[in-house]
Symmetry: C2
Subunit: 411 residues, 2 copies
């Protein structure tokens, strides 16, 4: 089953740079929020590119896009691969996008060589991987896997109160296929590492063996609005000073659960929002990670205890709502082995790695044999307009993706 098919490095890079025009920012990044006009534009472009390669593009009821190339055995379960084309509000050119366009490059390489796989191949663009506009992240692969409800997903609102369903209709990407109707024989996702490990150890390929668990909370702190000049310091119920303690407590929890624990407050709002009014209401959105389920649970217990103490001492109310929990996952040994074989065949320096970020592959893992491939990104920087992966690194990832697909197909 070994082949000598080589992906086209320049062609891959060219399609990456073409896609970066949709939502391009002045600083060289991308702002392409889920179901925005920019998301619609990149979807239209991607659909046309797949159809130009003879693929059939189908859309499910959440806008997940499936582009299929037939195999020689119509009864074989399709081998799937891909990632996502949406970005963070100030995101980069590679996060998600590389996995989709490397998949397109694999198809182009097979087409150019006239090579037919046994199983059909399905290239996927998952809707709303980022969760930046509509929480949670990986929402639509979550519904696909049956772990998130379809109606709940459609009813999710952004900060302006717009629903996911209405925005999906607005951009014309609500398809008729029931979510989760199609199943695959395998799912393989190439992604940038979004962390510093591969770069530090000079490895080209990360053989991803599993992923951290994730826990998300929304919080509201209620104190009392009052005048900044006329209210004595001792009579305040300052919801922002309380939030400041919450932010530092959340950071401290991660250090208390080192080295696996990570915790971040990414969004805050202070109301009514006037310099000379003590904020009476604040809101925050927090993200916790741990490689072990027990660690995640312990962090949650610590959070509840610390917040209760702050609420009592500060004389404010703190309401905490868990909005999402994704337990740590372990990828399929056969797919992990195929990735390792593909890396070795190409002579790339590689190492096993646990994913710090969440990916659609985490949900797919409950539906079919799943694995991931990482390539380095400069400084480990991601979710940032400066996100950077070289042309050679992208090409290496795409080559390993193609060879993994062929390895899985050949079994």
């Amino acid at each position: 089953m070994a082949t000598n098919l080589r992906i086209d490095k320049e062609r891959l890079w060219s399609s990456l740079m073409d896609s970066a025009q949709f939502g391009a920012t002045a600083k060289g990044g991308i702002r392409r929020l889920t179901l925005s006009d920019e998301d619609k534009a990149v979807r239209d472009w991607f659909k046309a590119a797949c159809e130009a390669e003879g693929m059939t593009v189908e859309i499910d009821a959440l806008g997940n896009m499936f582009a299929t190339r037939p195999g020689t055995d119509p009864d074989a379960a399709p081998i799937s691969f891909g990632s996502h084309l949406d970005t963070q509000p100030a995101g980069g050119k590679f996060d998600g996008i590389l996995g989709v366009l490397a998949g397109l490059e694999a198809i182009r390489t097979l087409n150019a060589a006239g090579y037919r796989t046994t199983a059909p191949l399905t290239l996927i663009n998952w809707t709303n991987e980022e969760g930046a506009r509509f929480a949670p992240a990986m929402m639509c692969s979550g519904v696909y896997a049956g772990e998130i409800g379809l109606d709940a997903a459609l009813a999710t609102t952004d900060n302006d109160g717009k629903t996911f369903g209405a925005e999906l209709d607005r951009i014309g990407y609500r398809g008729t296929e029931p979510v989760g109707a199609r199943r695959f024989g395998a799912y393989i996702e190439l992604h940038i590492e979004q962390g510093p490990i591969l770069e530090e150890e000079a490895k080209t390929i990360g053989i991803v063996t599993g992923g951290q668990g994730i826990l998300w909370f929304d919080g509201t702190i209620t104190g009392k609005d009052s005048h900044a000049g006329a209210t004595p310091m001792t009579m305040r119920h300052d919801a922002l000073a309380a939030l400041a303690e919450v932010i530092l407590a959340i950071e401290a929890i991660a250090f208390d659960h080192a080295p696996g624990g990570r915790a971040t407050v990414g969004e805050v709002f202070a109301l009514p929002g006037s310099r000379n009014t003590i904020p009476g209401t604040t809101r925050f959105k927090a993200d916790f990670r741990h490689p072990d389920a027990a660690g995640l649970t312990a962090m949650e217990a610590d959070l509840n205890a610390r917040l209760a103490a702050i609420a009592t001492r500060r004389k404010v109310e703190i309401d905490l709502t868990p909005v999402w929990r994704k337990d740590p996952i372990v990828f399929d040994p056969a797919i992990v082995g195929a990735v390792a074989a593909a890396a070795e065949k190409n002579g790339y320096a590689a190492r096993d790695i646990i994913s710090g970020a969440g990916h659609d592959a985490f949900y797919l893992a409950s539906t079919c044999p799943t694995g991931m491939i990482f390539v380095p990104c400069a400084g480990g920087v991601s979710h940032n307009e400066e996100e950077s992966t070289t042309e050679d690194e992208c090409a290496a990832g795409a080559q390993v993706l193609l060879d993994t697909i062929l390895e899985v197909d050949g079994r």
Copy 2:
């Protein structure tokens, strides 16, 4: 010069409740931001009410409104009084509004009695006292007094980038009178205390002897955006965790300068604003108060030292811009004495008090003999939709305002 003119309690309350319709919120407060549609509506209503009382309403180049009732001596310097009709984003029905409408009630009482003062009387609605939409507060009395530049005021932008000048044109309140062209023989401002002291001591009238100094800063913290899941805790440059320390440092500075010091962070912004991205940039707006100029200066020095330490330890940059300083002020003894005499004449329990909040009277004090009258507000709560002052308290304040005007006129 003593008269027995009595203001009409019901008429005053009725006009307060009428004005509360412009920008009314569901919780019984008011959202009437400077130069908004609601601000225009209350101005139109106020102008018509003044004209119905035979007053001449003139508008200066910043939209400050001057309604004049002639006196018997056309050469006498007018006695002025008033306050502001704009509110905080979630403000109450009395802050500023009471001072304007009690002035209107004084005029109505004089008209009903056919009583002519010697000096002309000028009732004023100052534009943008709150500073909530366009910083700083008391902007237009500040320009009137020559302490803020006209062009700077007109060029001030709100959080959406709209300029004060363009919004003034949009609502049709840019007048032709040069700002500061008219001068007064006195200025008297009635206001709710916005603090808890009068209520706690069961006093009806606060004889305001002066006001705290105020210092405003804008701050920006620059760290580095990166992925919340993939970035180790030890490799972060988290601009929001740094902001949390800044908020707590600012609070601590106020306690270090007790009992006079007060400090508040009222607005914060975290960018890019995504739960699973470590914020790379945060902004904050802070307010410091102290009854002594030296105390204010010492607080500023403490702030710079503490922020430098946080920036170094957190490996972020913190840029701090002073946007406004108003030194503490002392009101004119003759006006303060007239307020005390008016309170005593009416048998109201009264005490001397220093204003915790800033007021347009602070700027007027540099242009003519100036004083203020305070009435209690429930729980000392202000800058809040629950702000509450009773019908009797409002009436007492209006009566003392009228009697102070007559006392000053009779000298």
